[in-house]
């Protein structure tokens, strides 16, 4: 897949939850290059505060293991109480889809790190297409 063939966004705001500062920067830059508007935070409480503050957030892209007592799954559940149809993509160093709780549905993607930019581009485009209700 060449850069021209990557599925691109149209400026949608994506909330990235990543506790590793270096990975957070990389994720933000990739999202920018794909045509999305990233907001990057480092933990679950910060993510929920951002969701309450910023109505324009259209997708949650979250690591699974996060500090401050909330996993990515906890963040997603709390986020969907605020925005029931918010699309969610999980990112993790492990690739076992069976770790994703059933309440997120089979269509909620667990993206395994390290992932290719094309994989992220595809996951984002697919999540926006189907919306948050899997």
């Amino acid at each position: 897949v060449t850069a021209r063939q990557l599925r691109r966004g149209a400026g949608q705001m994506v909330l990235v939850v990543e506790d590793s500062p270096s990975l957070a920067i990389v994720a933000g830059n990739i999202l920018l290059s794909l045509g999305y508007t990233p907001i990057v935070v480092g933990d679950g409480p910060a993510a929920l505060a951002e969701l309450e503050r910023t109505n324009a957030i259209e997708l949650l892209l979250t690591d699974v293991i996060l500090p401050k007592g909330m996993t990515g799954f906890d963040v997603a559940r709390a986020a969907r109480r605020l925005r029931p149809n918010l699309p969610v993509i999980f990112v993790s160093g492990f690739s076992d889809q069976s770790l994703v709780s059933e309440d997120f549905g089979r269509e909620t993607r667990l993206l395994s790190k390290p992932f290719r930019i094309a994989e992220l581009a595809e996951a984002l485009a697919a999540a926006f297409e189907r919306g948050g209700v899997a």
Partner: protein, 123 residues
Amino acid sequence: MTQAPQRVLVVDDNKDFAAVLVTAIERQGLTVRVAANGLKAIALCRDFAPDTIVLDIVMPEMDGVEFIGWLAQEVYHARLIIVSAHSRYTDLAEKMADIKGLTIAAVLPKPVRLPILMAAIKG
């Protein structure tokens, strides 16, 4: 013949917690090494071949759940003790171990009482 001392690997990014553990474990006559994340633990597992691993879950670079996935694929199996501040994380770690067919010797909440942890390490 004297038996070699038990080898313990502490995997935790909290330096203070790890330092306390190292002191306590060495006082028991055991050999101990520390890794600050899962990636460093993998390297140490290969060189140090621990009998027991005391594992935190929330760590940078490679978290404890991912490390469990790696450990399950290894030929040797160290005893695994999980120490974490929140059940949210230990639940995921136990689920990963279950999926991979790996037995967890003990799951202990932080802050952990040293006598309880030492008893778990000694098995």
